[in-house]
């Protein structure tokens, strides 16, 4: 077994040191595991917290799931991308999985097509992180809030969401329309018509 992992410079990380760290973690060096957590936990936490806010109850679990998934996949890390980018991509997948789980909906019940609410869509896109939007999302039913965050904050298209959930694109669009309608109702109740 090789020598224990140690950085020569904590701040100037190169791809080589990323690979050194990956190898050391895989070599079951506990000190490398500590370094791995210390280096990337804030980034992963920040990404997931920002994607899930204002419903942040699942953030801790998703961060931990991300690291355990990274451990399982670390043997396939090639060093082509910085380790930070690599683990953040795993975190994004975890967020998508979370959206899919939160997105339990009986699509058969959605057989009509509510009118589009373009002004509400614009509000979601342009003022996406404002306190008022967050507060309104908090009042929606969880599956609607998850759907709107997934679509507008995570930038997933209806087609991508359909593939991810095994639903049709049309069903996703209907569901989005419903979610936007509920958002508009809550928004107008709180802030008047936009």
């Amino acid at each position: 077994m090789g020598e224990s992992f140690r950085f020569s410079d904590d701040k100037e990380l190169t791809e080589q040191t990323d690979q050194d760290l990956a190898r050391a973690v895989l070599a079951r060096d506990r000190k490398a595991a500590a370094r791995f957590v210390e280096m990337f936990a804030d980034d992963v936490y920040s990404l997931i917290w920002n994607r899930l806010t204002p419903r942040v109850g699942a953030v801790d679990d998703l961060v931990q799931e991300t690291f355990l998934a990274a451990w399982s996949a670390l043997g396939r890390y090639t060093g082509e991308a910085p380790l930070r980018q690599w683990i953040l991509s795993i975190a994004r997948h975890k967020v998508h999985d979370h959206y899919r789980r939160a997105f339990q909906w009986n699509f058969d019940a959605v057989d009509d097509e509510p009118a589009e609410a373009e002004s509400i869509e614009t509000a979601l896109l342009e003022t996406e992180r404002s306190e008022r939007v967050l507060a309104t999302l908090e009042t929606l039913r969880p599956e609607y809030a998850a759907l709107l965050r997934w679509r507008y904050w995570d930038g997933q298209s209806a087609r991508e969401m359909a593939v991810a959930t095994g639903k049709t694109e049309k069903a996703i669009e209907r569901m989005l329309a419903r979610a936007r309608m509920e958002f508009r109702e809550k928004w107008e109740a709180a802030h008047g018509r936009t």
């Binding site: 224990s4 140690r6 804030d42 936490y45 990404l47 355990l68 451990w71």
Partner: protein, 89 residues
């Protein structure tokens, strides 16, 4: 749009570290004698002549782990303890 940067809670880092080391330990950890930056307790274990013992995870029975996984600012100050370092990072 720049997203606000947040720091992960120290107790979360501690729990993640514990979980990772548990995974590493499933096939035996790198013996403490081959590790650098040992805490005072690990140094004591590293003196043992058994590589099997050195490949185990003494943090499992350490009060520092329990404190760090449950308190954001645990009373742990000794050097080279990851659980102590997480509260400073």
């Amino acid at each position: 749009m720049d997203e606000p940067r947040r720091k992960a809670p120290a107790r979360l880092k501690s729990r993640i570290y514990s979980a990772l080391v548990e995974k590493q330990a499933e096939e035996g950890l790198l013996p403490l004698g081959q590790c650098q930056g040992l805490c005072v307790f690990e140094q004591a274990v590293a003196l043992l002549p058994s590589e099997d013992l050195q490949s185990r995870n003494p943090c499992r029975v350490c009060h520092a782990r329990v404190l760090a996984e449950n308190l954001e600012d645990p009373p742990i100050w000794w050097p080279n303890c990851p659980y102590s370092d997480f509260k400073k990072s």
